[in-house]
Every structure is written in C-alpha cells, then in structure tokens.
C-alpha cells in the first residue's frame, strides 16, 4: 500500500487482521443503522397513535 501498488485483496486482508478490523467496522455500522432506523419506526408509531386518538375523539362527538 505504500504508494507502489494497490490491490483490493490486500486491502481487505488488513495484514492478517481482517477479522478484527472488519467485524469492528461492521458492528459499528450495524449499531449506527439501528440508531437511525429506531427513531424512524418510533416516529411512525407516535404519529399513528395521535391519529388514532383524533379519530376516536371525532367518533365520540
């Protein structure tokens, strides 16, 4: 990698530490994605809940 010749397979091998490096990055990515997905799901739930409450009140009137 030191300027001379770049090979992807060498890059992914991480000098023999591929397992540790890629698991670290993979798990981090997973946690980050989870952190993005959860609030989105949460938001849908809240909106659904408020909508249901509005409908219920309209029915009662």
């Amino acid at each position: 990698m030191n300027g001379s010749e770049f090979s992807w397979s060498e890059f992914f091998a991480m000098g023999g530490y591929a397992f540790f490096v890629w698991w670290s990055y993979g798990l981090t990515l997973a946690v980050i994605v989870l952190n993005i997905v959860m609030p989105v799901v949460q938001r849908r739930k809240v909106i659904k809940r408020v909508k249901r409450a509005i409908r219920r009140e309209q029915l009662q009137e």
Binding site: M1, F20, V21, S24, M38, R43, V50, I54
Partner: protein, 245 residues
C-alpha cells in the same frame, strides 16, 4: 432573555427549527466520516507495532470519547431541566441516553476486537475497558429508571437526578478503576504504549470524532422530535401537525 429561552425551548418551535438543522448535521456527518475513513484506510500508514489492526482506532477512540461526552451532555441538560424547569432540556437528556449507550457499546465491542490481536484475549480487565463497562451500566440504570416511572415529569426529574449523581461519581469510579488496574495489571504485556501519534493517523481520528459528534447531534434532534411529539400528543399543535401528514 428569559422570554427568548421560553420561545426557543417550546416544543413546537423546537420541532420546526430542528427539522431544518437535522439534514445539515446528518449530511456533514456522512461526508466527514467518508473522508475520515478514506484518510484512515488509504493514507495513514500501518502502525509499526500493530500493523493494520490499529485502524480500529478510528472508531474505537471517537466512540469512547462520545460515550463520555454524551453522558456529560445528558447530565447537564438534566440539571437544566431540574433547576429551570425547561421541558426541552429533559427531552434532550432522555433522547441522549440510548445514543450514548450505543457509543459505549461500540467502544466496548471494538475495544475487545482490538484487544484480541493485541492482548491475545477478547477481554482484559484493562482500566479503560472496565470504565466503559461501568459507564454502560450507568446508562442502563438511567434508561431503566426513566422507563419504569409512569409519570413523565417525575420520570424526568428522578432520572435527571440520577444522571447528576452519576456524573459526580464518574471521576471517582474512573480513578479508582485506574488505580486498581495499575495494581493488578502491572505485569500484562501491552502494546498500547503511548507513542506520539503520527499526524497522518491523528487527522482521520479527529475527523471521525467530529463525524461522530455531528451524527450524535442529528440523532439526538431526531429522537427529541419524537419525544416532543409524544409528550405533547394531546396539545393542539401536534394534532394540527399530524392531521397534515
């Protein structure tokens, strides 16, 4: 001044304002992270002792920094919520906890994965890893207390006080763990001697730290918006807003 704070911290105003900020934070977090990773993987040279494995540093250290930073933010905003009764501060504190716990988890997992090639085992009772583990417990305690009190105001105040107690305790815990560690781990061979870090490694590290911070800002706003909606679910502005969706 007070009126300004009142206006700015009203959930309705916050909801609108934060919508404009989130894309900027999220986008800059992504771009900076990509650039940081590029520098970290393709420009920074391998470490002379640890080879390529040190590249875990670019997520491990920023995550560890963030885990502590978020706890302090949480405690400070909890204190603001407790003292000045600003509801938005309670919302920020409550929204920070899961993100902080995530960063702590990342720091623990990557630390352990980095530790395997360095120490030979996945877990060593190293001072920093142990402190992170205790920090994770502190986050869990905060979240559990927040979740188990029905009354929202009471839950905010009680868990806020716990966060403040935690922040007073963190230095004590940290230093006693460090002291304990020097006693028990003295003989462990560690490759983590602190050489002055190479500038090509430092820049991506700082970039990643910045990216993590921006990511936190974006996510805490997203979560706080949800909280604001949920807590004001019976107020008019939420009703009007939801009906438009």
């Amino acid at each position: 001044m007070w009126a300004w704070i009142q206006k700015f911290s009203s959930p309705k105003y916050f909801y609108g304002m934060s919508a404009k900020l989130i894309p900027w934070f999220a986008l800059s977090a992504l771009l900076i992270a990509l650039y940081g990773l590029y520098l970290g993987f393709f420009v920074a040279p391998p470490d002379y002792q640890q080879g390529e494995s040190y590249r875990i540093i670019f997520i491990h250290v920023p995550a560890a920094w963030m885990s502590m930073f978020v706890y302090v933010v949480m405690a400070v905003s909890a204190a603001i919520g407790l003292i000045w009764q600003i509801r938005l501060a309670d919302v920020i504190a409550a929204s920070s906890a899961p993100i902080g716990a995530s960063f702590t988890f990342i720091a623990l997992v990557t630390g352990s994965l980095w530790g395997k090639p360095m120490w030979g085992t996945y877990w060593v009772w190293d001072a920093r890893l142990t402190s992170e583990l205790i920090l994770l417990f502190l986050y869990f305690g905060y979240m559990a207390l927040q979740a188990s009190i029905e009354d929202q105001r009471m839950a905010d105040k009680a868990s806020g006080l716990l966060a403040i107690v935690g922040v007073v305790n963190i230095p004590i815990i940290h230093y006693s763990v460090e002291w304990w560690n020097t006693l028990h781990q003295g003989a462990t061979v560690t490759k983590f001697d602190k050489p002055s870090i190479h500038i090509d490694m430092l820049i991506p590290l700082l970039l990643m730290a910045l990216a993590f911070k921006l990511f936190y800002l974006a996510m805490v706003l997203v979560r706080a918006r949800n909280e604001a909606l949920y807590r004001d679910r019976n107020r008019r502005w939420v009703r009007e807003l939801v009906e438009k969706l």
